[in-house]
Symmetry: C2
Subunit: 326 residues, 2 copies
């Protein structure tokens, strides 16, 4: 199973794990595939991952082969287990399109669109569309599953705002366990672009993220966005990273974290303004990134934030249960 | 002279042109070198250009060779002509650092820092630093020469705001012929990054800029920035380009121009707010790009804008005159 060297966990699945499994779940994104053997309540019994994302796969055979490679042994051992996937696998250019479900939407609304199994028995979670009468429409694909996983694990979040930081950060408004609407911000992708390809990259010593961020520089970036962001604008403040570097106000080693703070600060300026009065607030995602949001939120007066790690397996289990498959 | 195929104009300089010249001028930026044989009043008698920018040159010999290759014949024919250069040639990692002059600054203040000729007799125009007590500092290098060129050609701009659109768009406040201060916005660089490297690039059919922009899409982007920019934020509206594409509200062929309008609209939202009461307004730069700004400015109620093309040769001539060299 690890013949291409991409498996994180190559040890054999135990017969106990196979016996306890209620579901095979997949999060099949643009750049990676994660597969899970999932037990009752959504807990992960065994996890695998590979850099075999939707953007790398072309043609029916490639999808089929990837699925076989990373969950074929589980399917053969327990052929009756339901097979559910979320993410770009259901995009227009994925394996099978699972059209966006409109907001507001709850788990039942998503499940209703998954009754018919797709290729190889795989059921694909639809993405969500938020289409306000005024303003720009918004879409998500993959994060909706994390949202319903967070709700399965923490029913008290039924009336809350969830932030899912990442390449495309999502702010999700929940009311009565339904997704009322959401807003995406391109924070993570813009950071990566600027960090790697822009004139700012030249200021920054290397492409490695240090173990511990420069919190002072990060907070300075957050405050700059919060206090002068509206007047100066993001486009000006981005160039300011360069000007601060050229005038020796900002050390080269601190500039990436200042930039990170600046971008997250701009995200929070918009997000926090739309936040209240819906509470509580929870962060769902990679812990190191969530920690930056926790720090930044303090500078916006938000001190109570629940933190959850990857809730996609619990979300897949929740949807399987809604379908009475798990 | 055109042995490396990079010369735009390879015909021989005429003896009349050499006779009328009062100055050899260079605009030596990050990615390109432009050299001019400049006559009285700043008019260009002969122009050459090559992709031999500061970022491609390393070591004294490389700079010397590039200078010789693109102006050596002029120097030998008229060894008494002053040699002036602006741009990244004077940056910290350029040929010789010409430290930033502080704002406010007029032509005399820049000239005072150029009395001593540098390598090969080359005088290098210092960049400008705007260092407000509050807020982010700002820098320019190269554009200051265009500003003083615009003033030399159009003395009525002594009290005005100049916009120099480009990779790093500059908004320059002039009062009594002095640069009071300025503000840079990273509009052009961000457009190029998003157009080429981001998730938005996948929506856009090819990397060619069509002869004529899709003005309707461009104006839609401008209006979206103007009307919902503050509430939604740039980071959200950038993702909106993708959402509009995925939901078929925006044709693939229109998305690059919508993005261009969105970014310029955000620039203008900040810029126009700081504009009044200083008038008139002038655009200095590449005509096709300036046309986008003229269109966008109309959506901000600004209908009278003077347009100037490259004024760097006139700026170099103006500074040479200030030094009593031309």
């Amino acid at each position: 199973m690890d013949r291409d060297g991409t498996m994180v966990n190559s040890t054999t699945t135990s017969s106990k794990e196979l016996r306890e499994a209620t579901l095979i779940g997949l999060d099949w994104g643009s750049t990676g595939l994660r597969t899970w053997l999932i037990g009752d309540g959504g807990q992960v019994l065994r996890a695998r991952q590979a850099p075999l994302g939707a953007s790398m796969l072309s043609g029916e055979a490639a999808w089929r082969q990837a699925l076989e490679q990373f969950s074929g042994d589980w399917q053969r051992a327990r052929p009756e287990l339901p097979l559910l996937a979320c993410g770009m696998v259901g995009a227009q250019h994925g394996w099978r399109e699972a059209p966006y479900a409109p907001c507001p939407a709850d788990a039942a609304a998503l499940a209703a669109r998954m009754r018919e199994p797709g290729p190889e028995g795989l059921r694909i979670v639809p993405g969500l569309l938020d289409d306000p009468h005024e303003g720009t429409p918004d879409v998500m694909r993959g994060e909706e599953t994390q949202v319903f996983g967070a709700l399965a694990l923490h029913p008290e979040l039924a009336d809350a705002t969830l932030i899912l930081p990442g390449t495309h950060s999502k702010w999700v408004r929940l009311r009565g366990g339904r997704v009322l609407g959401f807003s995406t911000q391109m924070t993570g992708e813009l950071f990566a672009l600027l960090r790697r390809h822009s004139v700012l990259a030249k200021l920054m010593p290397d492409d490695e993220t240090p173990a511990e961020p420069d919190w002072e520089a990060f907070r300075q970036g957050v405050d700059t966005a919060r206090d002068q962001g509206a007047g100066e604008g993001l486009l000006h403040q981005l160039f300011g990273v360069r000007a601060l570097g050229l005038t020796a106000r900002l050390a080269a080693s601190a500039s990436a974290d200042y930039l990170s703070g600046l971008l997250i600060g701009h995200e929070l300026t918009v997000g926090v303004a739309t936040l209240l009065p819906v509470q509580p607030l929870a962060l769902v995602g990679e812990p190191a990134l969530c920690r930056r949001y926790v720090e930044a939120l303090k500078h916006f007066g938000v001190h109570e934030v629940k933190q959850l790690d990857n809730t996609a397996p619990a979300g897949l289990w929740r949807l399987a249960r809604e379908l009475e498959l798990a």
